[in-house]
Symmetry: C3
Subunit: 152 residues, 3 copies
């Protein structure tokens, strides 16, 4: 197979792009509503999240427990996660597994309407399709840090 044909074949289809965006739109509504169980349900049973500080939560039970412990920090603020620049990589040998990376901006709006921002993050996910629906199998969250300036 020519390289040109391979390049074309590895392109993300519009349908897949819309499917992944829709999955995140639903998942983020749940986390932003502090619907912890609903959010955990968007992961596989053995799903894992590695937070930017290195903390790791594997399995829905530990994920839910960790999120419950963090709830007080969301008192009196409306949190929203904004995504951008999705990169979706498909595995030709397994069309039900996707690697997705994206930018994340997190706003926190208080009762007076004042918006503040968490640092920006870049996230690497592995999604799997089970019974036709996407689930997150793993998520690694990287806090964006300054890069070393290249030699000039």
């Amino acid at each position: 197979m020519s390289q040109a044909v391979q390049a074309v074949r590895s392109k993300v289809t519009g349908d897949l792009y819309a499917e992944v965006q829709t999955f995140y739109a639903r998942q983020m509504r749940r986390v932003d509503a502090l619907d912890i169980e609903g959010f955990a349900d968007t992961f596989t049973d053995d799903g894992v999240v590695v937070h930017a500080n290195g903390e790791r939560a594997q399995g829905r039970e530990r994920m839910v427990a960790g999120m419950r412990a963090n709830l007080p920090r969301y008192r009196d603020i409306a949190v929203r996660h904004w995504f951008d620049h999705l990169l979706i990589e498909t595995d030709p040998a397994d069309e039900d597994t996707l690697r997705v990376s994206y930018y994340t901006l997190v706003t926190q709006t208080d009762r007076e309407g004042k918006v503040s921002f968490q640092p920006t993050f870049t996230v690497d996910d592995v999604l799997v399709r089970r019974d036709g629906e996407l689930l997150t199998r793993s998520r690694v969250i990287h806090r964006d840090t300054p890069v070393e300036l290249p030699a000039s």
Copy 2:
């Protein structure tokens, strides 16, 4: 029809996703340019907007009048509406009516380049396709407010 098949059928196609995103890209360029009549033309004749404060404007004439009255608040600022996490729901019985919800962040940049933010919003739209082109039939704007913390 099996449930799995229904789930697959209700998925948003890439073409529809691109069509809706393109509609909003055009609509927001008009509102951000303070092109009030052009913005109103992206609504149906009987289109309705329910603002976050509960104010309701129905019909293009009232919509235009309300926006004109609000123009002074946009003096010397460049406003931009940013969308994210579109959720598009189609009606199998009527493919020309769509329910769309999305996150909105609104930036206001002054002449010196300083950016400030309005509170974040979540918006629920009903779009209709007329002669092949989408129009907004109704828009309900919700200001994002803190949720009650779930019992731990």
Copy 3:
């Protein structure tokens, strides 16, 4: 051909929408990583960037030199470019040339995690497809400025 048919035909397909978004996701990862050569490689050899201040850099060599000169302003900050509201216009006579415009928000996060914002921008690109891959042939960056209020 009727006008309705033309309107339908000029619609952006989901596949094209995903292709363009994926192109920008890759291009922005390079510029945000200060990978100057990698970023320049996403332009055609004669590619041109016209900055918001009117400065113009044509060709990869001048583009790279200009970016190198600007590197010190990115010391100790993580920069991220956020896009929204892509408008993709295709040329029926040349399917390998696209006009794309989009909103841009630029965040700068310092080592402590504090986020600051550049003014917002609207960008007009011409993309070309060469050997199946998109490249930027020209980019004109407009700083968003207040519009004159329409007469009321």
